[in-house]
Structures are given as C-alpha cells and as structure tokens.
Symmetry: D2
Subunit: 346 residues, 4 copies
C-alpha cells in the first residue's frame, strides 16, 4: 500500500482524485487537506463518497503532508506547488502537481504568461510533463511530474501523430476548444453560476489563454521546430468534457485512410486513446467520467486542410485521471489501475 | 465464468447492463440481441464502450440466447418476458427480467393496469421481486427474478422502514417523484426530444401511472395491510436520476432522531443504501451512475407529517445495477461485484 | 410617461424588470441603482439589453431615487424595504417591493420566520399583497404593494379556486414545488454553481422554508379559516420556472369536470391564468419568460384526493412580471401592458 | 391587415413564426397548415400560445393557402418550395421560403450539395437572398425571398465587414460553428433525444455540411472573388442559439481598434446587429429568443490572424425572426415590427 496525500482535496480536481483513488487497491489515503472544510469528513463535503471514503479533511501544512505520504498530489491553483515540490524532492517524496507551475521546461515562459515570478527554474527544467502517451518512460523514472492542463491534453493527443509524421504545416494550426464548466473550479464566481452558463456558449480568453504556451511547448517538441497556434477556448453548459476541434493545412495531399493509419500506428497499444471508426465523430459524453480520449479526423479536400477532433473528460483524462495514470507509472503499478472503465453513457 | 445473455442490449437499460458487466470479473457475454443493430459491434452502437467491450449485436431468437447462456437478462418493454422466462425455467436458465411482466404476484393486477392479458399467472406468482434490501434471501434461491421498476425502487426503499415499524398512516401516503429522461428509453419520440425536455419540468401520468400498483404491492407487504397511494411522476431535464419526495402522517408523535435510528437499523450493513447526515438532503447527482440509494427525512412538526426523500440513478439502482446486484446474489458472487463505486460527482 | 426607479437593478429580478420595462411605452427609467456596477451602463452588465436600454447603473441612496421617481421598484433581498417604503409614502411615491418585508399583514409572523425585527408593523398591516387575481381592486388603490414570492404565486393561484369554493380539506394540503436556479439570485454561492446544479434535483428548506407562512396567510384568507401546509421546495437544473404540484383531500366526491368548471369560473377574464385542456399538464417551458400561469388538475378517485399543478416563470409572473402587472394597475394602464406575450417556446 | 399563411406551422420554425406574428399588429393569420396536427388548435399543439393564438391547424394544399393569403411563409424541409413559389408568383402572392430550395442563384450548386434536381432554375436565379443587412433594397422589391440558413446568417454577418473591406485573405477562412438542438427540427430522431444531446458536444457534417456552399456564395459576393471555406458545425446541449467562431489571416497588419471601426461603419443604423464592447465576447443567451446578432473580434498578433465570433438565436434571427424582418421589408412595415425586444436573459 502506497501512502498518498492530496493537497487541496475539496476542489473539483481534488474530489475527482479521491473518487478515482477510492477504487485503487494499492493505496492508502493518509492526508486530505482543505482549509475551508477542515474537520469535516470528506464524504460530508462530497456525499457521493458516502460509504466509499472515510477520511477527514485537515488543515495541514505541506510539511505535514510530506511527512505522512510517499506520494503527494497537489490540486491547488497555480502558484503553490514550487515550494512543496522542492521540499518533497529533498524528503524523497514523489510529487504530481496538477497545476501549471512546473509544466514549462523554461520557467521564463511561465512567468510571461502567468505574470508571476518562478522561484525554482531548475526544478521546472527537470520536472517531467506528465502526458504518458508522449513521455511515458520519463514519467516512470520521475520524482516530480507536472500533470498537463486539460486543454493541452486534448490538443496534444489530437495533433501529435500528424506533427510527428510531418503531415501538417505547423504555421497553420488553429484550435477551437470547448470545455465544460468544471474546468473553472469550485470557486464561487458569478461567471460560473448555473444561470450564467446554462443555455449558453461563449468564447473566452481569445488569443491570450494561458494554455497556449503549454500547447506550443509540446507541439514544438513533436514537430521538431517552433510552433505557434491560434487557440480559442469556449465555455459550454456541461459539467465535464472538452472537445477540441483542430485545423491545419496539409503539406502534401493525403487521404483520410492514410492519416488514419498514422494515428493507429502512433497509438497502438495505448489503453486510453481510441481512434473512432471513420465518420464517427467524438462526443464528450462517450468519455464522461472516464480516462479515455476519443479522436477522429478527416481531410477537407476542397481546401487542403485536415480537421481533427478529440474528446476527453477534463476532470479525468484532463486532470485527475491522468494524474493517477502518472502515479501508476511512477509506482510501477499497471497503468490502468483504478482507471479501466468506459465512459458513463447513456 | 458465468455465460450471460442480454435480450435487448441496445436500449438504455441494455447498454447500462453491458457497461456494468464490462467490469464484472466473473462473467462472459455470450449473446447481445438487437433487431435494429444486428451485425454491428456493440461498441459501434455505444462508442463509450470502445476498448472495453468486443461483442457483436445479433438478431437472435430468445431460444438461441437460452441455449448459449446460463443467465439471461431481458431488457425489453413489457409484454415480451413471460414466454422467454417460462422456456428458461424449463431449460434451467436463470432469468432476470427488467420489464414489468413478472413484478406482480397477482397477474390480474398487471392485466388491469397494463391492459394486456398475462399468459402465465403461475409463473408470475412464483417470480421473486428483485429488491435485495427487502427480498434478499428469496432472490438468492430464485430462478426468475422480476427486477423492480425505477420509481418503485426509490419509493419502497424510502418508505420501508417507516411502514415496517408502523410509524405512518398508510392511508396518507403521497409520493411526488421526479425522473430523468432516460427513463423513457431510447425510442425516438417527440416527447423525449432535447428541445421538448430541456429547461422544463412537467407532471405526467398523474393518478394513473403503471408503477402505482407495483409500489402498492410492496408497501402493502411491508405494512401488513392494504396500502393505496397517490403517486405523481414528473419528467426532469436530466439524463439519469430519480428523486422521490414522500409524505405521510405520523400515527404518533416522533422525533427526527428516533426515526433516523429506525432507518439506521433497517439498513444496517446494506452496501448501497445510505442515510445522509441530518439536514443533508439527497441530490441525484450524488448517486449518478452508481448503484447507491441516498435517503433523508424530517418531521414537519407543524402538521404532524414525516417527509422522506430518496435518490437513485434510474438506470443503475433503478434498473441495470440492481439487476446485476440480483445476478450476483443468484450466482453466489459478492453482492457488490462490479457495482462498488461512488456516484460520478462532481 | 411615468418616471420609474429600480433599487437593485442588477440582480436577476432587477434585470428582469428592466427587460420588461424596456418594452413599456408609458414609462421612463430615471434611476437604476447598483452598488457593484455603479458607473457602468446597464447594457454592459446585461449585454442582452444592448440597443434596447441606455441607462447607467448608479450608486444612489434610496432618497435620491425617491426624489427622481414617481414609482419605485425595490428588488433587494429582504430587510431593506421597510425604511424606503415608509419614506416613499411620506413623499407620495408609489412603491412595489419585490422582497418579503411587507408581505405579512401581521409583521410578527415575518419576524418569526425571517429572524429579524420589523421596524414598522403598521406599514406592513396596510401594504397590499400584490397578487392581482386575488387582490386586484386593492392594488389599484395601493400606495405600497408587497409583490408576492415566487412559490406563493404559483401555489395560491393553483389552490385558490378549490379553497374558495370549499372543495378541499385545508388540513390535508401538501405542496411539492420545484424551482429553477434563478430563484436563488445572482449572488456567487457554491450551491448555485453550474456544476452543483446541473444534472441534479434536490429538496431544500424542507418543513421550514420562509414562503410557508406567506402561502398560509393567503390560503387562510381564501379558506376563511386557518390553513397550515406542508411545503417542500426543490432545486431544478433550469434557469427559469416553478412547477408546484399540490395535493389535498376532497371534502366531498367531485368529478374532474365539475372542478374544471370551478377554475374556469374563478379565472374567467384573467389575462394571464390559463386552465389547460383536460390531460395536458403544465410544462414550465410553456410559460418561459412570460407572465402566464398554466394550471391543470385531476381527481385521484382511488384515494379521494385532488392533484393540482401550476407553472409560472419565477422571474416573471413569480417576480418582475407580476410587479409590472401591479404597476400597471396602480398607474391605471392596461393590465397587460409590456406583458402580453406567449412563453418562449420552443 | 395583411393576410398571412404558413405552410408547415407545427415544426419549430413554423411555431416560432406563429409566436412572433402573434405580436404583429398588422397581420391576420389565415392559414396554418399541418398534416400531423390537422384539426387541432395551434395552441393545443404549442400550449405556450394559449390565450395568444386562436387558429386551427389545417391539412391544406399549397393552392388553398395561396388563395387565402397575400404572403406565404414556407417552413418545410427543402424540396417543397419550388412548386409553391412558382405558383405564388403566378397568383401574385409573395413568398418567403425558410428552406434551402431558393437560396442559390445557381441552382446547379443546390443540386450538387442537396443531391436532388431543381425544377426551376430561373426562379432560383431571380429569388432574393433574404439577409437584410446585405440585400435590403432587393428584399423590399422581392416577390420571392429565400430566407438564409441559420449557420450562414451568423457567419455572413460575422465576416461581411472584413471581406468587403479587404482585410482578410479569403483562402484562409475557417469557421467553427456551434448550434443548439432546435436546428435539427422537431422530427423524432434518436440523435435529437434529450439523453443523446445532454452533457455533450460533438462535431457533425465535417467538411461536407450543406450550408457550406450557401456561405461561400455570399462571402464570394462580398469579397468580389471566389471564396472557399472550411466549415465545421457542432451540436450543443442548448435549445436555441448559434455561435460561430471564425478565423482568417489578415492580409496586412491591423489593430483591433481599426477593425472595430470597420464593423461600426458597416452596421451603422442596423437595428439588430450589435458589436459588443471590446473584450465582451458574444454569449448565445444574450440573444436568446431575439432577432439580435452580437459580434466581437480580436487580432491574434502572434499569428497574424483575426478571430471573430457572432451569436444569434437560430430560430429567430437564424430563421423565423429574419423571415418576419423580410416580411416587414416586403410589406413596407417598420423593419422591427414584432421583433424589437432584447434577448430573454437572465
């Protein structure tokens, strides 16, 4: 049994970690931190857990958690992970950070987009970007994993095969992404109210969303050259789910069948990434509550572009499910432990 | 490995059976029938199953299925199960029927409310009503189990402790129930269209819904006398979930604390039924996609009534999850196999 | 042109007032108050109003507003209206309060349920309860109108004909009501977040909701004797709409046809209250965004009860639409001015 | 009073026409056709209309309707309008067709994309494309107006100023559009069921949707050269609303401020098209149930692209509202008659 702590257990990604880990046969929850709900049972904060989780929320310091746990998940807004992760390394505790603090190999990029200074550029440079389909071997050996953002997960998985194989012009990539409201977290804000989100869709953060440089870092690695993208996120009236629709110009004519083979090869053996049958476009509800990623694509012969769509659950494959997948890799468990389930559909 | 067949695999309850059974370690799916999708992979009809289920839909006769399977689930509209169940008994195949055909010990009641004649009153009389919290031992030995309706499951679990203990006047029971749209099935009907259901609630089947006599049969058994109820279902803009709010006059004054103890005693040791903490009222999303039932109650001292609310997922505890629970009991597996998971929340 | 001020213009009921009044040919908006959005255009706070409303939000004192306006709407949480209304009476300004402060003829009832003291019992005693279908003539002459609560509007309209005609036993009334989330207002609270409300229904305030005594005051007037009810509100995943389902024992046998005639007579000539055809149950989306109230009923012959359902839009007939209806009566305009429109459906 | 007939009154666009026209002071509804609901009152089919519309649905031939009416709206699926419109021209009846049959000046394009032959290429060539902001003067004089598709309305209004002014490279246009489910009509189809659409988003018709050539026809006219676009529609879990997000490369550097001025000039005086303030991105609920179109844009300086978003209600500005706008122009009424109202929000 691996002793696991979660810093920030009562936000949505924290609760999703607890939900997933409640089915993990090899772990023991030794610390769930929450400032707001300290002293309450986790199952009283999230009654869905009643009968499945019996752990209290505690107002612990990171140091407390690091002393109890062998692996720590950090499920806090950005800005809190660097110090904890640094100390964890010293203490021999493994860390998976679900925030943005350690996602950039070059911390200067983080500083530019997040408008804060980064206290440990070396730690950032050495953290591993936790997208198992791209960096699996590095994750296995990692002490500090930076769990990817939700949008970047869907985008990178959707475009990686084409970029790697050189089919598309990296200067032409346009990403139109749509996310459920849970991506905004559990903070009480007017813009996240039911009445504000229901029966609505709107773009936000156009041409300036912080996931842009994270996408570009990984796409550039795959393309072997610098990639800049236009990225537009939208807010959808669903709780969970991200659909990214991606556009790029083909550098040479290619058939849909040829490109499908590229994807099949790239994702051969992957437990969670599935290319859907020709003509069956991803639906976010098909991956609802699961760690799966569904992808499809076609060629728009009239304009010489390829259109790719990928769907994930932003809280699962886009956050906590992927974090557990990384955890499994880091601890030597079967990669799908606690994660092997179809989406909740219908 | 138990060989399992599902007659009617591509409706919502059929698909939910497949989803749940895809995680069951002791079964083998040997027959999935579908007239409409015969020849297609189940995972192509429900792409959420991609990577988790590799079984074709076939246009098989019931006889075909009974020859292949040791246990058969019937997930068809009412009117189809009697013949199949009768033949199954002859062939030594166990049957769990998710329809209404075998829910009434007195088939005449069925005939009156469903306006069809029943071909085998004796079979009906001997079938077991598959609500494990009430009839567990009979289910263990049953060859034919009639899986309860969704509304009756939520209502009976909500009222059983009070009726059994004699706290309420059976003549005063009023049930106001609210269901998600999946309860209407996957048939293409205008009344089930997104635009007709969204941003809406409406009562239907007022004072005449077919689940009324089923509720009354079981409540009468618990009360030890004939019970008649007023039952009003409503259609809600959610996919899954039933909330039943129930009202009855107390026959003698009682405190909330006293009644809470009655529930705790009645459901002691139950894996799926949970009394929530005082003042925490059931939310359907807390049982979303799970086999759990959440209950709470209070005393309205001003009027001498008790108010009880219970929440289930209509497709899981209200249909296919409960069917698998019954299956586990009938086959001697741990009752929670493939079912022990919290609701998908947030 | 009547000069109109709105105190609290940027909450949901305030914004709904502005929306409705934007189509009123006889008014001029002279003051929109907002502490939070002072200095912004109303149409920038609610961009739906772009091109239809050109008025700024101002951080005005009530006194400022009373000096500018001939009629003032107060759209604030309870606790703010008594002083303003008192001063308005002195200054000869008419007041319509959308909060609870002046809904009780006996302010002691208000104090008991709202847990605050009431500064002007006489003002309360003389205010008119603004439900035009019951108190039309008094409203016409009123200087201070207490606009009814959303739940009470739907409940009183649903039960008035039966109580007035003496068909039901007032001791047996049970009200199961369901409301959209806008009823909770625009305050940023976790319980009003999209992710908390979506795909969910839950009861709240069971046996203790503050609309209970308001319902009882008016039902008692209609019945000519004291009425106590069991009232259970529920939160629904819709933006707008209240459905109240009501149950009572008939004091003597009656046919559905006889009762329908009672309703037709009671509401003859009413512009906004409509008894639907036999068997057509109210759907909240049929009154969406409108000032209409739809009602239907049936007799449950098996139990001797009548079941009534009524649907309104909680922000319109349940708040701001009704306020404008009262305004029209108080000012001598045609009662339907700015309100005569069908619900937004489909 | 103009005598108006609607062929196909009980589909969603037909019902929306009736809803809007119920507030039009200058018309008389003389014929509402419906095969399915013949003999029923329109208000019984759409109870929202109770008290506002008293007209029966009749199973009339087009000839019957043309004899009664001075203006006829055709709200049928494509394939039915050519014959009716031809006969109407002979009889001196004006026609507004909400389907696709007459939207293409070159009927061969229609035949290619809709896979049917067109019976009257000359009629098609002479019909007027009913987008008032682009073709207002021609509409005023038209006898046959082809009402635009919902997606094309949102796209053309969004891109017209930039194309007309020559700011963008027509070869680089990518359109990512999202629509509510009412766009699929009221036909009972599995893909339109609540449970299939709720908590979901999916692309469909990728690189092949029939609105593509309609968009291209009008954008080509505006650009003065042939335009080909990549167009991807998505299905959203909302009843009403279309958001189109559009991408194109700037042919020369331009500031957001400069481009905003281009839009302000282009739409100066337009009653329904509104450029939102800088940084306020369109939300479909802000135009809910209204004839308004909200637009905003920005420059992605890092990639040299402009991003434009436009929002309409697909049933109103995207169909029936625009049809009434055209009707007003054709009959010499004020263009906003029956349409001047803000969106229903909150």
């Amino acid at each position: 049994m691996v002793k696991v702590g979660i810093i920030g257990a009562t936000g949505y990604t924290g609760a999703e970690l607890v939900r997933i880990l409640s089915r993990h046969p090899e772990i023991e929850l030794v610390a769930l931190t929450s400032r707001h709900y300290a002293g309450e049972e986790m199952a009283d904060v999230y009654p869905a857990l009643t009968g499945y989780v019996a752990s209290p929320c505690e107002d612990l310091t990171p140091e407390d958690v690091l002393e109890r746990a062998e692996v720590v998940f950090i499920a806090l807004p950005h800005g809190h992970a660097v110090k904890v992760a640094g100390r964890a390394v010293e203490m021999g505790v493994k860390v998976i950070d679900l925030g943005a603090d350690l996602r950039f190999r070059d911390a200067a990029v983080y500083e530019e987009w997040y408008k804060v200074s980064h206290a440990d550029h070396e730690l950032a440079a050495n953290a591993v970007y936790g997208l198992p389909e791209i960096h699996r071997e590095a994750i296995r050996k990692a002490r500090v994993v930076a769990n990817p953002g939700c949008y970047p997960t869907s985008v990178i998985l959707g475009l990686a095969p084409l970029l790697k194989a050189g089919y598309i012009d990296p200067a032409t990539i346009i990403i139109d992404a749509k996310s459920g409201v849970s991506g905004a977290g559990r903070e009480a804000r007017v813009t996240s109210l039911f009445v504000e989100c229901n029966e609505n869709i709107n773009p936000y953060g156009v041409a300036g969303h912080r996931h842009t440089p994270e996408i570009e870092q990984e796409l550039s690695l795959l393309a072997g050259r610098e990639v800049k993208v236009t990225f537009t996120p939208h807010l959808l009236p669903i709780s969970r789910g991200i659909l990214s629709t991606m556009y790029a110009a083909l550098v040479r004519p290619a058939t849909e069948g040829e490109l499908r083979q590229v994807y099949r090869d790239f994702y051969a053996g992957e437990p969670f990434v599935h290319l859907l049958p020709r003509g069956t476009w991803p639906h976010t509800r098909w991956v609802y509550g699961s760690n799966n990623c569904h992808i499809n694509l076609t060629v728009d012969g009239r304009t010489g572009r390829v259109v790719v769509a990928s769907a994930i659950d932003n809280l699962t494959k886009g956050a906590s499910g992927q974090a557990v997948q990384n955890f499994n890799l880091m601890c030597g468990f079967a990669e799908s432990t606690a994660l092997a389930a179809p989406g909740l559909c219908p």
